[in-house]
Symmetry: C3
Amino acid sequence: MPEMERVRKTPLRNAGVLNEPVDYAHPVSFSRGLCVELGDWIMLFVSGTASVNERGESVHPGDFAAQARRTFANIKALLSSAAAGWHDVVRTTCYIADFRYYDEFNQVRNEFYQAEGLDPLPASTCVEARLCRPELLIEIEALAIVPKERQAPGRES
Amino acid sequence: MPEMERVRKTPLRNAGVLNEPVDYAHPVSFSRGLCVELGDWIMLFVSGTASVNERGESVHPGDFAAQARRTFANIKALLSSAAAGWHDVVRTTCYIADFRYYDEFNQVRNEFYQAEGLDPLPASTCVEARLCRPELLIEIEALAIVPKERQAPGRES
Amino acid sequence: MPEMERVRKTPLRNAGVLNEPVDYAHPVSFSRGLCVELGDWIMLFVSGTASVNERGESVHPGDFAAQARRTFANIKALLSSAAAGWHDVVRTTCYIADFRYYDEFNQVRNEFYQAEGLDPLPASTCVEARLCRPELLIEIEALAIVPKERQAPGRES
């Protein structure tokens, strides 16, 4: 099947903010996010993102609010690598390790979205789930959609 | 970044059926759903929806089947606010508080989809998860896609 | 509402590999996947898929790696029924019954993606969740997007 018959996909990356998990020599195989071009639109699929840093270390163990803020910031960093931001997010799925953090979660999210000036707010689902490392307390997946015209001309070629 | 370079997004609402959670003064920040215009298509991202009423109260505590029916009806109400319905749903994610309700879930869903005359049926994933309030036993997220031409002329402006 | 105003949707099926759950006479109502036509693009929504065979039986109870391989193969079979493959997958959601299988999961996924030659890798989220049958240890949902031109001329009519 010729390459041209595939949708154009490029990874979302921001290695200065959170590490790249993608490496066939190491057994974790996913992209931090995927930028998918569909004619006039670009869909940005952001993988489940947690409070990790540029070396892949979990940060803020035991501090839910700090982890939540880092998670929102990590997603912002991934989106910004594709000239996008939280304004473009249409849907999130939020996994919280324990619902006793739910109020804290809503407070942080509320503050973050207010600071970003989001209106309307994204659609969202939030459930409790255990995450891949015991110290991680929150993980968020997001979908953003941006018009292709947003892209800088230099990216078009 | 000029406003015109964003995808056009409007919230899904049906305040007569289920409450509006969106309020920056209150720490719950999401839309019940988001209507996203992509050229000839409109994507309707319905947030995780449970058995709540127009005042935001959980209804039918302890009665899984009644909660499931209310959840399907709530989503129907949200979709109808955008001239859409369950026929337009392409995917659901269903969270059930305990899989001992699984048979009941399938029975209610079966009856509901049959009454709606759905064919083909949506793609779906169903897993067990704790939900944001202990009395809620089911939460469903949905994605619907409708042709832009469906929209009434009055909405176009 | 006339039929023409709906998005064209057809089920994904591969009855030789995994069974069809869809039957209004039986209380499990979903499609294994849904093929949705959106102008120049086709979105393939693959339902949560586990290690089941063409008779709907769970296979490889107690063997996580074998279940994972079967799950990846089942999704491949569903995608192939629409002339698509793992190269077209943009996002997965992976549910693992217990995170003590996480290393094994990553190893199997790594091997599978490497064998398929995927580059870039799909976006992905992975959380722990109980699945609909106690013997099932992994379930994966996927979204693939293919250009309409991929479709064989015979399918167009």
